[in-house]
């Protein structure tokens, strides 16, 4: 084990799935033609005033409740001032001293116990517009000749969740992020898809000697938008920091971009050379004091958290299967089958292997019908495969499959086997002469005799017994 320990904290941004923007009622539409979703508010025309989106407030409180956060009694919007073409007002409306959600935590279950990640805060803000940098070699702002701005994204609601630096490896960071993502998705407040840009993270990485108190200067990796790159970025930052310390250097707190192609970090060009945002309370908006009845209504809407579901399933199927069922959002299907009397391991096996291979929506499965199929003794493999393929499709009927059972009772199969042996004396001799390959032919004859209803495995075994006994 290395003498160095990795320390990671995350700032996660998720686009809220509201219908309209944070402070105006322009409709959100990903992929809309450029600058077709704007109005005087989000273009910052003089005199235009922001009006808070009530649904965004509700979504943020819900997230706060799911993360066991303190919900603020008084939350205040604040102006974060900086000058950049993606920010037409010259400031971003965010929350600073009084966020909607205060300290909380997310408990991440692992095979070796719980990892408790403390949440510092969760707050609401507006996203900036999208800029394209033209000219220059890199497609970045540095060295560009000019920039093109699309304000459709400007002013869309963004949730920011900040964790304490409680994560001790890249794997732990990814476990936390995946569970946080699933929590967000199940709340129905965001699609939180990194590939589509509706979720991204700033990753703070430092290292320290094991047992050391306090933290060393951290590097912030900006705008990470893939789980894979976040994991590799953490590893790369830790590697470079450890190498620097071992050369006897000291390090500064700074901001980096992770370059996936080279697996290296480059210094991030800041929008504001000094991070001097001159925050102050937004005078155009009054404070939010979430009424108790609103908070309680929202609390009732928060679904059973994924971490707790994993722990509940674990005794029946083991940690790995429980984790896989919940994180692929197939655990409700599993639980439904078990509630309908399917043996837990059979249910888990069917859900994670047979059903998962179809790629169908687990929510669309006829649970009662599929449970009846899975409980049918002696169901043929073909019938099971066909039922699996049809289970999430309209018109599924369990009765089409439950009658297709294989005969595996020796007393029922005995006469058919005797008949086949009597009718094929030559093959019987060949088998007894040591050429066991002929067995397949005899099995086939029995299947034919029983119109395919026999369990081929049992027939195989019974034939072997007979052929040896009667020799």
């Amino acid at each position: 084990m290395s003498e160095w320990e990795i320390v990671v904290g995350l700032e996660v941004h998720a686009h809220l799935k509201t219908r309209t923007k944070m402070f105006c009622r322009c409709e959100l539409e990903y992929g809309a033609a450029e600058n077709t979703r704007t109005c005087p508010v989000c273009l910052a025309h003089p005199g235009a005033l922001p009006v808070v989106n009530g649904r965004a407030i509700e979504y943020t409180i819900k997230l706060g409740l799911a993360l066991e956060c303190e919900i603020a009694s008084n939350a205040v919007f604040a102006r974060k001032n900086y000058f950049y073409p993606d920010l037409p007002k010259g400031y971003q409306i965010s929350q600073y001293e009084a966020p909607l959600c205060g300290p909380g935590r997310l408990v991440v279950p692992t095979a070796d116990g719980d990892e408790v990640v403390r949440i510092v805060r969760a707050h609401l803000e507006e996203d900036a517009a999208k800029t394209l940098h033209a000219g220059g070699a890199t497609g970045r702002s540095v060295g560009a000749e000019y920039s093109l701005v699309d304000f459709n994204r400007g002013g869309t609601p963004l949730l920011e969740i900040v964790s304490e630096p409680d994560l001790r490896s890249s794997e732990a960071a990814l476990r936390f992020l995946r569970l946080l993502r699933q929590t967000i998705v199940e709340l129905g407040i965001s699609d939180a898809e990194m590939e589509k840009g509706t979720m991204r993270a700033d990753v703070n990485v430092s290292v320290r000697k094991r047992g050391e108190e306090g933290y060393r200067p951290r590097w912030e990796l900006k705008n990470m938008n893939s789980f894979t790159f976040i994991g590799r970025g953490i590893e790369a930052a830790a590697r470079e920091q450890i190498a620097a310390y071992e050369r006897g250097e000291t390090l500064q707190q700074s901001t980096y971009d992770y370059e996936p192609d080279t697996d290296r970090l480059t210094v991030h060009r800041s929008k504001e050379e000094a991070d001097d945002y001159r925050y102050f309370p937004e005078p155009d908006l009054v404070p939010i004091e979430p009424p108790a009845e609103l908070v309680e209504r929202l609390r009732a809407e928060v679904p059973d958290p994924p971490g707790a579901r994993i722990r509940r399933l674990e005794p029946a199927v083991g940690f790995d299967v429980a984790y896989a069922l919940v994180t692929t959002e197939r655990d409700l299907l599993y639980a439904g089958l078990v509630a309908d009397g399917v043996e837990p391991r059979l249910a888990a096996n069917w859900v994670m292997n047979d059903f998962a291979a179809t790629g169908d929506d687990p929510g669309a499965v006829d649970v009662a019908g599929m449970a009846a199929v899975l409980k049918t003794p002696g169901l043929t493999r073909d019938a099971l495969a066909e039922a699996t393929a049809a289970s999430a499709q309209p018109g599924f009927s369990a009765a089409d499959y439950t009658s297709r059972t294989a005969v595996s009772d020796a007393s029922e199969l005995g006469p058919a086997i005797d008949a086949v042996l009597a009718a094929n004396p030559q093959q019987v001799e060949t088998y007894r002469g040591g050429k066991e390959g002929v067995l397949g032919f005899l099995v086939g004859q029995v299947m034919k005799e029983t119109q395919g209803k026999a369990d081929a495995k049992v027939v195989n075994q019974l034939l072997r017994e007979k052929l040896t006994q009667d020799a």
Binding site: T131, S141, V142, S147, F151, E289
Partner: protein, 97 residues
């Protein structure tokens, strides 16, 4: 009492991307100091029993339903753009000044 010095005037001007002539640095510095002096009169009061205020109105929880309203037609949105390229606003390159 707080006092704004020349360096702070230049710093704030740089953050706001303002280029100031020498006499403006002096004039704006003096004005900023006058404003600070006027505001700091508040500190003459005993406010130990007054909770911090983030907004002068005694109003909270103003928000709107999440219902879309019409957006500006793209031509109107771009009407005041000094320059455009297609339906984009065309601006000087961003990044550090």
């Amino acid at each position: 009492m707080a006092n704004i010095d020349r360096d702070q005037v230049l710093h704030v001007a740089r953050l706001a991307r303002l280029e100031l002539r020498e006499e403006e640095v002096e004039r704006l510095g003096a004005q900023l100091n006058d404003i600070l002096a006027a505001v700091s009169k508040v500190s003459e009061l005993d406010l130990s029993d007054v909770p911090p205020t983030s907004h002068p109105l005694d109003v909270v929880n103003v928000w709107a339903e999440d219902e879309p309203r019409p957006c500006l037609p793209v031509e109107e949105a771009l009407a005041n753009a000094p320059e455009r390229e297609g339906n984009y606003f065309k601006v000087p390159p961003g990044g550090p000044a």
